[in-house]
Assembly symmetry: C5
Homo-oligomer: 365 residues x 5
């Protein structure tokens, strides 16, 4: 099988991963905001207090109005972001136009904003695609008001909030007894906890590549490590600014985050710090792996060079002596000697052996 074909066969899936990566959206303020007319906007509203919890799932914006009485907490989760609907919802709640713009633009760095009457943050939710080995990011935006939390997700298919939804249905869960800043904590905590699931997948692939490099190195491994390094960097860049976000909530002097709940954001801070450290660690291990592979290639090349040199050296006396006695001169020493042939062959062998011994003694092999 030719090198090119072998290359294509090994790298086929890898190369298709390459082309898929291009679909990843990067931020561009001049492109249209993310309006996906084919994805209907769905509002899931949780109205709850210690005593009860009502859940409404609707595509009617009219259900999403700010409460004027304090006895209820409200969580509105918006799945699928159509521009006009998001803008009207935000207008209803008095959310600043800059934030509305942020909610509708994808590919941004995680960040937090304090608008006095409401707090805002956006951060990435990560998922790992088992087939392509690629990390997919979805941008979650959260608005925290005095008695409401609104969360915005472009993609309605999945999020890591199911355990939280279950807790909301449970009368004894702390989230039912606490203010909405604790709900915002629960959302961010769920997202950050989910990072470790992705990190574990990266760690698994790294370990597999470690085995490939150490036990059965082959030339595709180099590209695989490069691709994995890039995914590690995608995660690192995505989650690094989350630390600053969490830190600003932890130390926020806005009263929307009650003094007693600050320590919950400290808890997320510990976890996001650990997650970032993991990415740095993985990156370093990947680089070491690359070095180890290349160094093994070099060492192997050294071995092959030595064989080549030994073989060439062994050939030398035979070539020279055979060439000498193969010349067509009338008078050739030993030509008519009874043991001429044997003498020549023995010379060839003994010179080869002597050279090998000499070289070995000189430490060349």
């Amino acid at each position: 099988m030719s090198f090119r074909k072998a290359y294509a066969r090994t790298f086929g899936p890898l190369l298709s991963a390459f082309s898929k990566r291009r679909k990843r959206d990067t931020y561009n303020p001049k492109r249209e905001a993310i309006t996906a007319p084919d994805i209907p906007t769905v509002y899931t509203i949780y109205d709850y207090n210690e005593g009860k919890c009502e859940r409404i799932a609707t595509d009617q914006l009219v259900h999403c109005m700010p409460h004027t009485h304090d006895t209820h907490n409200t969580w509105i989760n918006v799945d699928g972001l159509r521009k006009e609907e998001v803008e009207r919802l935000c207008a209803n709640f008095g959310i600043h136009p800059l934030l509305t713009e942020d909610i509708l633009s994808t590919g941004q760095r995680a960040k937090a904003d304090d608008m006095d009457s409401h707090l805002f943050c956006l951060l990435p939710m990560l998922t790992y695609n088992q087939d392509t080995g690629l990390i997919h990011t979805e941008q979650l935006s959260i608005v925290l008001g005095d008695n409401y939390v609104i969360s915005f997700q472009p993609d309605p298919k999945q999020d890591p909030f199911d355990p939280l939804r279950e807790k909301l249905r449970n009368d004894l869960a702390p989230v039912r007894k606490k203010t909405v800043d604790y709900l915002a904590y629960c959302l961010i905590d769920a997202v950050v906890d989910d990072y470790f699931t992705v990190l574990e997948k990266l760690s698994d692939r790294l370990e597999k590549l470690e085995d490939e490099v150490v036990i059965k190195p082959n030339s595709a491994v180099l590209l695989k490590i490069t691709l994995l390094r890039q995914e590690i960097m995608v995660v690192k860049r995505a989650i690094s600014p989350v630390r600053e976000l969490v830190n600003s909530f932890w130390h926020s002097d806005n009263e929307l985050i009650r003094e007693i709940n600050h320590k919950y954001f400290k808890d997320i801070y510990d976890h996001i710090s650990l997650a970032i450290e993991y990415t740095e660690n993985y990156r370093e291990v990947a680089i070491n792996l690359q070095d180890l592979y290349m160094n093994q290639v070099n060492t192997r090349m050294n071995e092959v060079m030595k064989i080549l040199t030994v073989v060439t050296t062994l050939l030398a006396p035979a070539t020279v002596i055979g060439g000498i006695f193969g010349m067509n001169f009338d008078i050739i020493p030993f030509q008519h000697h009874h043991h001429g042939f044997i003498i020549a062959v023995v010379s060839m062998l003994s010179i080869s052996v002597l050279m090998l011994l000499l070289f070995r003694k000189k430490g060349w092999f």
Copy 2:
């Protein structure tokens, strides 16, 4: 085709890009200020308030005088910077001589200055040249007074402000209702948004080079990556100090930037941070690409070495045996044997095959 010629053919455009780069101006305080006598200075004045908006385009400095009444906002855009005219305009508006000097010197780092009665900043506008693959920078200077904004551009051909001009003509646009610091925000925002257009081009080229390295590597790719890395660094160095500039406006305690408008500069701050992160990312990807290419060259060399060694090894027995039986001795074993020739040839082949098997078993190939 010779290596040199192939090299020249592939690298022709690249090399011409090299020589063009030299024209790039670097800052030198001892050179004359940028006076381009052949480029006439054109003043475009927008006088506006909520009710109306007047536009004057003129080459007469006399139209550019500070307003003494507060009911109007003024934006003067200066295209083409002749030394005397800029100095007289600045003198009219009481702009500090150090700033005038800054406006007239190109190649500076982006920066902001607070002169109490007016704020100053300068930052680069970037354009990407599709033909040469080079980044061109033009230095934009902005002076923000209490009811005026003056912007200075050396090159009259282009700027990213056309959408803003359209908004100024629209009676309902926020810019018409707000103070001039919002206008200054709009100018800087337009420049920073434009960076992403340039970054997208760099990203496209990077992806093309990725394909070249992974799918069909060739020796020109190395130089292309090096050149692209340099352009990425040009962008990184140009825009990195813009973050500090925007930060100082965001946190400015000068009342020329109204408290209510601070958050707009925070919005730019988010974007410029993202843009800088992109350049760092691109730089890293470019370096990885370079490593991957060189490692593939090494791996390929390893393959070629192995072929060489196999071929040399296969030759060895034939050379030795052929040499032995080609010698001109009177008495040569098997010479007169009926199957002598066949015995010799079979020995050659079988020794070759045995050596190959041996080497393969030893894991050398």
Copy 3:
């Protein structure tokens, strides 16, 4: 012996170290907390003041209640962490649920928390496995109240606190006369002092590898250095956040750490700083070693290439002249000359010698 076999023989233990590393727990908030039902929870309680010191070892939680009178200090060491027991113990002492969660989750970064009524920290205890060369980490959690210290260890087999236990039995030891923050200091100090034992082992292995690289380099050394580098990084990452922890206790404004005892934490701060510096140093030495090895491989390859070139060059004239005079033409110069053979052979030798001299003069060898 084949390369593969030699490789396997040399790397056998190394590779088994590789697979064992995978068992290392990394933090994952979605996994069950560390409940090891087969490890019974054992409480060791030291009740002491200047006059007396009582020790109780029990598996009954009922013995672990907070004291209401100030005349006693209490140290409760918990070995083996069963979820329900730890939660009930923590509830008894009013420890915040976030801390209880921390105590029960392994693989976390060292950190400190201030909950006003109690201080909390967790940090790793390190042990070096002589057989595998791997670092094992056990997470120690410490809660410091006004008159008690509780320490939690998942693994009951070992800890570095035996010298401290001996001091507690000694009526004259300072720890008996001082407040419990000094006891907390003693615990952390013992852990940090123990880091140097592990560091010394790493240093010893590094020195052995130095010898291997410089005096008798072989191809297994590369993998050994890579593995050692990874262990060094495990230690570095484990102990680096301990500095911040100690610093926050040193500068704590919580009155649980008395003003007079601050300087003890400063003393640990000095030591942990030194330990971190050691890991950075070791990492750098390991990288240098790797470079040195690869550079020696390159230099050796250079030597082998030269031999190959010399041998090939020496062969050349013999091959050419032998080939020429071995041709079967009717008329061959010198064929019938009396000294034809000698002339040819002397030509071969002299041309070889001349070429060698020429090359040597040109500085190629």
Copy 4:
């Protein structure tokens, strides 16, 4: 021409640059202070106010006495630093002994000191030696009192202050109307502006080396880049601490620097920041260049290896078949065949061609 000779011829000037570098003085507190008895100390005194400007050039220390009346500003420039004279001059002006020691010791880092009654700074003046390509540094010390400035230069031959001297003679120049802190600004500004002249030379050499690497690479280029990198680092290290110096004057709360003149030091701050950025940029470009060169050497080696392999491979069948039919057996197949010779030769050629086609199809070339 031999490699060694070619090397010597190319590297002659480079190597002489090497030895000259050793003369560069590094700071050593145990060496004698810089007293050059053969260089006479010359005092150039400018006594000026808005109305008039007197200039005295003398070698008599007696002319250098502090003024007690405020109506005059004084600039004393000292060229050639003899220990006793400098010490007496400093004593006259009440300059702290530590500063006197600093003035007399060369090779120091740029720095500023605030002694309440006077400010002090020292910074390097750079010149580029066109012949050797080396950077020469001269240490300028400046003392700023309430109505005087004293500048000290070890080497009387050159400085960048001639334009300033001209301005002092001009009654309309701002320097004549302002306080002495503005004069200090002018001195430092002239030095920093001069850095850009040196930077431009380095940039020119870098561009030349870029051409050499890309268009006609040769082996001397590597050493040239290494030498240039070292000069770039000399500049970087020399000017980096100047930023801190300028910053401390910009933000100084000593009244010797009038509030109104602070912005002038901000202007220098911008320039020195830019200059430092240039050195960082140049360093990076030089490293990239080195990488590019080495990668081209590697790629070229790869090409040469392929030729070697092709040639060896083409030889193989001829060697084998020629060896086979050259053997001296009685019975050789085709020996007496009419087309035996042609069959053998055609076999040689066709096997060679087939092998080449096979290898090419396998993607080995």
Copy 5:
């Protein structure tokens, strides 16, 4: 001479340096404190004020008691640290037990401690061993009280304080007129000044290695550079924390350091900053040197490969044609031709020459 022998001969002294390095003490809190029973503790006491200076050298601890009257300053230098004696001396002066422990443990990072009634610092004294090329460090501890300074040195053989001792005998020296904080300054200043002596030796060796790499590269140079790099790092790590130490004395708000003497510590701060910068510079130069050497090895290998290829190529036609016409067929073209031999030989030569020309034209050589 074999490679191994040459290696051993060249590296003998280097390798012995390797083994000696292992004796270097690293900090280990579990090892016994430095008690060297064979080294007697010697106290040298200087009791001085402006009028007189008494010196006592004794091994009797009883002479070292704190003064209760202010009119005298005391400097006690302790050479040779026996545990009991140091502990009793420290107890006499009320020095905190943590400091006593520090004084008795070697291998620590430089640091400062403020115990209100006394200040403490420890820092390394460096000496360069000309024979082994190794840096030796000795830990100096200094305690500064209100009217006394105590300095502790484990090794009585040498220190850099002789010039200071001379000054103390001189009635006019500033140290006699000032408070003891100035004496502490003098001690630290002497130690820091001495660093430059060591740095100069490293610089000299670096220059020698530069010459070796550029002018006559050989394979031992690589190991020499690696060893030198390690010594540079030893110095860098030893002196880097001294900057923080000096800074904390410079900015100390403890009244033991009088306001008027702060600037003296600023002076040391400048010097230690410069010394650290030197080590960073040396490290970078050493790395560059290593790169340059390896790149030269690569370039040289490239040359050798080309010779090999040229020689192989020149051989090819002779081998092929000689092989063809050496075959034993009955009918061989030109065999009976009068100029057959000449035609064959000329073909060999001309084909060789043509191939060489072709390759050269293709730019392969």
